[in-house]
């Protein structure tokens, strides 16, 4: 019964598309984009929209050709943004008062793309597609995803462990961790690594105790707090930690800065890094 509607509908859609498409692409592709998200900055440059970006926030630091500015991503100021006369602003939904900032920008007739932090890679790819669409680079976005997917599955095929290997991911020396429900946790799962933080059952970022970590005895430790001075040496010096398998066998790895926290094209680099880190562990 729906079938008979499909062809007239398609025809109408195609006609509308043809009528609006040339005009739309000519006038609606933004040429003055402000990115207030480090990940969005990397994605925009990855999908070929870099030349349309006129300013990026104070946390964006990649690629080096991006137009860096002092605009804040966490506490954006509408007026400071408006002073650039942008036609599209990428705003993180987690920014302070994001909803108000979005409506204020819209009052100034500035289009806003609200970036919701993805919970998994599929959602990250969805952001690639959405940004591709809104900036006029839908095919580049799709091509980038295809290439990333094939590189990542190749890396996993090579490095995935046959039997689960326990690990501990440290966010800070309190120590907070990230379990398998988080974005980064799912990446570790792809390699058949077993996250000791899952036992806390916190659904996110549990605060663990030293005693628990020593008892769990992970085979590898990933330090995401290298920039705060933590290293294999400081971890070995912690009371009781020298008994942990990862410390004894020198499998304490400092993660590279920023890459683990961003869901841009450099996710491939992160997969590669993890693959190298676990290569020698059985």
């Amino acid at each position: 019964m729906f079938k008979k509607w499909i062809s007239p509908l398609t025809a109408v859609l195609i006609i509308c598309g043809v009528l609006t498409a040339p005009a739309a692409t000519a006038s609606s592709n933004p040429t003055r984009i402000i990115s207030l998200s480090p990940s969005a900055t990397e994605i925009l440059f990855g999908i070929g929209a870099g030349s349309q970006v006129i300013a990026v926030d104070d946390n964006s630091d990649y690629p080096s050709t991006a137009p860096f500015s002092k605009l804040s991503s966490f506490t954006p100021n509408v007026e400071a943004i408006a002073a650039y006369h942008p036609d599209l602003v990428v705003l993180q939904s987690s920014a302070t008062n994001a909803a108000t900032i979005q409506s204020d920008l819209q009052k100034l007739k500035i289009k806003v793309f609200v970036e919701v932090t993805p919970n998994n890679i599929a959602e990250a790819y969805a952001e690639f597609i959405a940004l591709g669409k809104v900036t006029g680079h839908p095919s580049r976005a799709k091509a980038l995803i295809t290439s990333m997917k094939s590189q990542i599955s190749e890396i996993i095929a090579r490095a995935r462990k046959k039997t689960p290997v326990t690990f501990f991911h440290e966010l800070d020396n309190t120590p907070y961790s990230a379990d398998s429900t988080t974005f980064i946790g799912q990446i570790y799962s792809d390699f058949n690594l077993s996250n000791i933080a899952d036992a806390a059952n916190a659904g996110g970022y549990p605060l663990l105790s030293s005693e628990f970590i020593i008892k769990a005895n992970p085979k590898i430790i990933f330090l995401d707090d290298g920039q705060y001075g933590e290293s294999a040496t400081t971890v070995a010096e912690r009371t009781g930690w020298s008994a942990i398998s990862a410390v004894k066998n020198k499998h304490v790895v400092v993660l590279p800065l920023d890459i683990p926290d961003r869901w841009g094209p450099r996710m491939v680099d992160f997969y590669r890094f993890i693959a190298q880190s676990i290569a020698k562990i059985n």
Partner: protein, 340 residues
């Protein structure tokens, strides 16, 4: 004290009131004129009063939709916190009492955290209502627990502290459990006026002006609360009833301010003492002066909040505490000298 001296004090008092009103006006015009987008001062002035030659387009929106509501909200919140602070100080016979004393802040914090950690994202928009209800409920609980309907201000104060700690404990638990909400909760606690829009200004103006109206009306009688209850009765004042009215109105003003702008500290302590120091009077007849001074203080602090770290925003609580904390210490020190 001669009547002549009384007359002079009254004139002086009115001068201070006029002075505070003038300062508020100047500060407000300054706050509307400064921002990351530089707009000619005369254009701002003309736009504000809808005179010919004002700004159009984006600049007009910036002035009338972004800056003006924020300045007015700052003035309302500042007036509410300063006046409530002065009233609390009188009611509790304690110069260091502040509007958050009876658990209003912790209760509102708990309400806000419940809204922010909820899995229903619609609730995030209802944050002001949650914060408001949390603040009012916490103060109400303090009342009920203290018992005997407010016979003794000290037991109310203690139950306020207990209720506040309890609410903070639940709030911290929720926030640790939902670590993703940590940053929004934290920035809410530091307070800011970024959420200002005409909608927010309208509803907070209604509640705050009603509460301030009540407090200004009973201002003269509030002085009676500084005496013992027997003396108050002899002056024809019912201290128990008056305390309930005063605390209820001050709580309404505080809860509204908190739900519109988060927890902005120290305004309630600094401003009343500053005004009383200038007028050399402890009397509550200067409540209106205190309200205007509070408004001017917060508008100025917010100007600092949006320009000091520009283009980022600095939480306004940082500025009020930065000025307020040293001032708090000076008040403490002077008080000790008086007692010695």
């Amino acid at each position: 004290m001669s009547t002549e001296h009384g007359a002079i004090a009254r004139i002086w008092n009115w001068r201070i009131t006029a002075f505070c009103a003038l300062i508020l006006l100047v500060v407000a015009i300054m706050a509307v004129s400064f921002g990351p987008i530089s707009i000619n001062f005369f254009k701002v002035f003309k736009t504000l009063f809808d005179l010919p030659g004002g700004s159009t387009g984006q600049d007009r929106t910036v002035i009338l939709e972004l800056r003006l509501p924020r300045v007015i909200l700052g003035a309302l919140v500042g007036a509410a916190l300063a006046t409530s602070g002065a009233v609390y100080q009188t009611v509790f016979h304690n110069p260091l009492a502040d509007p958050y004393l009876l658990g209003a802040a912790s209760g509102a914090g708990l309400g806000a955290t419940i809204a922010l950690t909820s899995t229903h994202h619609d609730l995030h928009a209802a944050l002001p209502i949650f914060a408001f209800l949390g603040g009012v409920l916490a103060v109400f609980t303090s009342f009920v627990i203290s018992g005997k309907f407010f016979a003794d201000p000290n037991s109310l104060l203690l139950s306020g502290i207990a209720v506040g700690s309890f609410a903070t404990a639940i709030q911290t638990y929720l926030q640790q459990k939902h670590s993703a909400a940590l940053r929004p909760v934290y920035s809410w606690i530091l307070g800011d006026l970024t959420s200002a829009s005409w909608g927010v200004v309208t509803w907070s103006a209604v509640y705050i002006l009603i509460a301030l109206g009540i407090l200004f009306t009973v201002a003269k009688q509030l002085d009676g609360l500084m005496l013992s209850d027997e003396e108050a009765y002899s002056l024809g004042i019912n201290p128990k009833k008056l305390r309930i009215i005063a605390v209820a109105a001050a709580t309404l003003a505080t809860a509204t301010a908190v739900s519109a702008s988060g927890l902005i500290g120290f305004v309630g302590i600094v401003v009343p003492h500053l005004v009383r120091g200038l007028t050399h009077r402890v009397t509550n007849r200067s409540l209106m002066t205190i309200a205007m001074a509070g408004a001017a203080f917060l508008v100025l602090a917010d100007l600092g909040a949006r320009t000091l770290l520009s283009p980022a925003e600095l939480p306004i609580g940082v500025i009020t505490a930065f000025v307020g904390a040293p001032f708090f210490l000076v008040v403490l020190r002077n008080r000790r000298k008086v007692m010695q």
